[in-house]
Amino acid sequence: MVSQAAADAATLERRVWRTLESVMDPEIPVVSVVELGIVRQVRVGPDGRLRVGITPTYSGCPATEVITQMIRAALDQDGFADAALETLLWPAWSSEWLSESGRRKLEAFGIAVEGTGSQSPVCPRCASRRLERVSQYGSTPCKAHYRCLECLEPFDVFKCL
């Protein structure tokens, strides 16, 4: 039987996840920090304190601090001002943590996603797999730069580490 305290904690955690789902990535405003896998953990500790664990995508990603501030502001606004924000480095972020909905939204936004293993990205414009990589690096630390050999459109790829 689930205790009342545990049930309350679960409800609270669920509400916090809802709040965090509304926080969009500042660079790619179509996906939330939850869909990107940046929010790793929401839990009520034994002391009753709410803890939110977030992880940076890349060590030097300049958006990390902005994201932290945005999460803080959203938590404050929805009445979770006493929540503690913690940075979790382990396990290290991986693009596999990107949710399925996040992946679809990125593609609709024009950013392809590099699959794991042999799964290659597809052109977000014409869905061709005939692509060339222009550069391993792109406009932000999490992206590489590709070009479609079918429709000739250049596009970003969310890279897989």
Partner: protein, 262 residues
């Protein structure tokens, strides 16, 4: 083999742990600062972005490592104080990374020699008994592998390219090779950290660094340079003249305007 398998239950003291983490932190920080100076000066837009992104990763790693060093030291200094308020003799980076950017071949060779070392170091440190260090290493490893793909790719293209690119990459290798022995030669602290299960066995790093580079140099059509003894001990604060100039630029603002914020 992970670093932890070396452990025999000897505990490292905070002073030596601080010193060891500083070496890793400063090596990333100075390498990152060097590359950051190339922003807007890359030979092509793609390389400019690549070098800028690598710089960002390195500075991010340095920040995590400096914050860890600050926690170990526990004397009220934070990562910013460590980065901006120490003078050259207090820096513990290897001498390789403070060498000037030079031409593109020089930048690529320096990066390649470093990337090969960082990949092997972090792979091993991911199994460190120091779990905070292990977490940073695991994250940095993913990034450094990606850096290596870039720098090794360019080393091959330059070495296997035109007569001009080949001459330049040969000259860069000849000039920077003398700094590689410092990466691979253990001193008492490296040996001690290995015994404590915090750092990797230095012989292992040497072997893996060499085999990694041997493959890439062969692919680039470049000869393995002759062994050169090193006279620089950046790891213990004895630097080449280049570090002071780099720090003057990097540290100017926080020193001239203490406590300045955006």
């Amino acid at each position: 083999m992970s670093a932890a398998s070396e452990a025999v239950g000897i505990e490292a003291g905070p002073e030596e742990r601080f010193e060891y983490v500083l070496r890793l932190a400063d090596t990333s920080l100075i390498a990152g600062q060097r590359l950051a100076a190339l922003l807007g000066h890359g030979p092509a837009l793609e390389e400019d972005l690549a070098l800028g992104n690598i710089a960002l990763d390195l500075i991010g790693q340095a920040r995590l490592l400096l914050a860890l060093a600050a926690r170990i030291e526990a004397r009220g200094r934070d990562e910013d104080a460590l980065a901006f308020l120490r003078d050259a003799p207090e820096f513990r980076n290897v001498s390789l990374v403070e060498q000037p950017n030079g031409d593109f071949a020089q930048t690529i060779v320096r990066q390649c020699l470093l990337d090969a070392w960082q990949v092997e170091m972090y792979e091993s440190l991911a199994g460190s008994r120091d779990l905070q260090l292990a977490d940073i290493a695991e994250k940095a490893l993913k990034e450094c592998r990606y850096h290596w793909r870039f720098s090794a790719g360019w080393l091959v293209r330059l070495g296997d390219g035109t007569a001009e690119s080949q001459a330049r990459v040969r000259a860069a290798l000849a000039s920077l090779w003398r700094f590689t022995d410092e990466l691979l030669s253990p001193d008492a602290l490296d040996a001690r950290m290995a015994v404590c299960g915090i750092g990797p066995a230095p012989a292992l790093i040497r072997e893996r660094w060499q085999s990694r580079l041997r493959v890439t140099l062969a692919e680039a059509g470049l000869d393995w340079p002759a062994h050169q003894h090193y006279r620089w001990h950046g790891k213990r604060g004895e630097h080449t003249e280049h570090l002071g100039h780099l720090l003057a630029e990097m540290q100017f603002l926080p020193r001239a305007y203490p406590g300045a914020t955006w």
